[in-house]
Symmetry: C2
Subunit: 353 residues, 2 copies
């Protein structure tokens, strides 16, 4: 039976991934030198396509890492001497904080309950060097409105604002002039095989890293920001990267761009409404996030006391949804709503519940 | 025209890579959860297959990273408080050293000329915590005999011995009971798409990392050794990994094992003899490494003053060889001799020179 993965990532592949891999193999993309013209062209195509798709200004650099988790580590390493400040309301925002602790920093946090939002009407501590937002909490389906993030940045121009858009990109519309950094991985909204992370960072991030390096802080080695930038300026990476992943990402971006981000955003919102309306009206299963203003459009968590039974039932019909995250494993299901998910499949899945 | 890549990596793909990718897509390997049974089975299959192929004892752990460069960084981070000691005779051994410097350590080195070997009859400084060997210098085609490495380990049992086998695995026959760690990436001797590094490390490495962590050293975050081990013990990785890469590696290892490592080693030696004999007898082009005892069997560097012309000529016939490394770019060619390279193709390529 043909399965459809509505899991929050890894998830359903974009339909043309198989075709692009075939083309890549035919074009010998996996055998070419990562120091040669052909690779540089692929690097250039992909970064340009990403820039166009996500409206990334020229002043922001695009770096290829291996995962979003690595992006968290590199951001802390390169942009924080001592104090980062984290908005924590789920497992992934917690993870960003933990990484800062593990790297010997002294991060602080503003904690909200899982699935709840933050009160942004307060002052970020003066000493915070980097403010970390998990714009879309994959563990709970709670989102932060970009406007709230911009407002914080506006009041804290000296601080680096870093935004985890792992499970909301490319849907989330980020004004990169109003944040210093954002990052995601490709096995979620881009519907690709895992193993590639994308970090977008402006010169403020680079300069902070250079300053820390100058002050003898450990900013890492081959993936410190100056090293990443030096290579990126040559359309290269410091190490041999996931060349196939970079190639695929360029093709997916081209395709999404052709379809049109505005259209994709509208489709995503329509599907999200369909799902939330269905569960708001459902007797047994209810959306976990009660505040409609912060409900994620791309990862939808639903309280379902007998989630294993429900997951099994949907799976028997070919629809794979996620379980709750960790402690919520047996109490929730999570439904991803990414660009590759078709409205008719959403309807059919819901009709089974 | 069908090309054959004799480049030292990325290189020619193993012939069945396309088939395995097709199977992976059919089995939805790229959509499954990296926390679920199916992924754990893939992780288990691949590590078991690697163990069998490379004779890795149970006491050595297998970790998946994103590149060999990352392996160098993680080894220094996790196993060195202050001093590592590096045998440097080329660009990649130099890189290992540089990474230690960038991480704020105070590495020391024993330097030999590029393409030359070391005199192992000397005492490693007492203070060295880790001794780093680049067993096969991809930049020059100079190799270190494993027996020399074992002898150093034997005289320095307290020190961690780490061996870069990036461009010699799986050919090089490592007795893992006599080294603490070894690492490689998959786009060379395993003939796979790049984007996966494999680090093999014993409990001595883990314990050193735990000790450094206890002493408040920065050993990294999600990819510190205790974190990698905790996940590996569950047949998982700390982050969403390159699942496709892990799947492919298992299949390639199965296939290599079926063919037989002994046979592969004999074939590799036969092809290497063919190439070295040809160039030893050639009027214009001579092997760069003069000492026959340290000539790499898997990466063969040849002095060729007009290397661009030669590379072009071979390329016109479908044979892609590497240029010299960096400063040697226009003075050498490098020919890889990996398991997927067929003797008849080697002969045909040589007949054009």
């Amino acid at each position: 039976m043909q399965k459809i993965f509505f899991t929050p990532g890894p998830t359903q592949l974009y339909p043309n991934v198989a075709k692009y891999i075939k083309e890549a193999l035919k074009e010998e993309v996996c055998s070419i030198s990562h120091r040669g013209n052909k690779f540089q062209q692929i690097f250039h195509n992909t970064t340009e396509s990403l820039r166009k798709l996500l409206n990334i200004p020229e002043g922001h650099h695009i770096f290829f890492l291996s995962s979003a988790t690595e992006a968290m580590e590199r951001l802390i390493e390169n942009c924080v001497a001592n104090k980062s400040y984290h908005f924590v309301n789920g497992a992934f925002s917690e993870r960003f904080l933990t990484i800062a602790q593990e790297l010997g920093k002294e991060p602080e946090k503003y904690e909200a309950e899982w699935g709840k939002g933050f009160n942004f009407n307060f002052k970020i501590p003066e000493y915070a060097e980097l403010v970390a937002f998990t714009q879309n909490e994959t563990s709970t389906g709670a989102a932060i409105n970009m406007a709230d993030i911009y407002a914080i940045k506006d009041k804290n121009k000296d601080k680096i604002v870093a935004v985890d858009v792992v499970s909301s990109a490319p849907f989330v519309d980020v004004d990169y002039n109003k944040v210093d950094s954002a990052f995601f991985s490709v096995q979620k909204g881009f519907g690709m095989p895992a193993g590639l992370g994308v970090l977008i960072a402006n010169n403020k991030c680079i300069e902070k890293s250079e300053y820390l390096q100058y002050k003898n802080y450990n900013v890492g080695s081959y993936h410190n920001f100056p090293s990443l930038l030096k290579s990126a300026n040559k359309n290269q990476t410091p190490e041999t990267p996931n060349v196939l992943g970079i190639y695929l990402l360029g093709n997916i971006c081209d395709e999404l761009h052709k379809h049109g981000m505005e259209k994709i955003r509208k489709e995503t919102e329509k599907k999200a409404s369909l799902i939330y309306n269905f569960f708001d009206a459902h007797e047994a299963y209810k959306p976990f996030v009660l505040d409609k203003g912060i409900r994620s459009k791309t990862v939808i968590a639903i309280n379902a006391s007998n989630s294993a039974t429900l997951i099994k039932k949907l799976s028997d019909h070919g629809f794979i949804v996620g379980s709750g995250y960790k402690e919520l494993k047996e109490k929730q299901i999570r439904i991803a709503n990414f660009p590759m998910h078709k409205i008719n499949d959403v309807k059919e899945m819901l009709s089974l519940i």
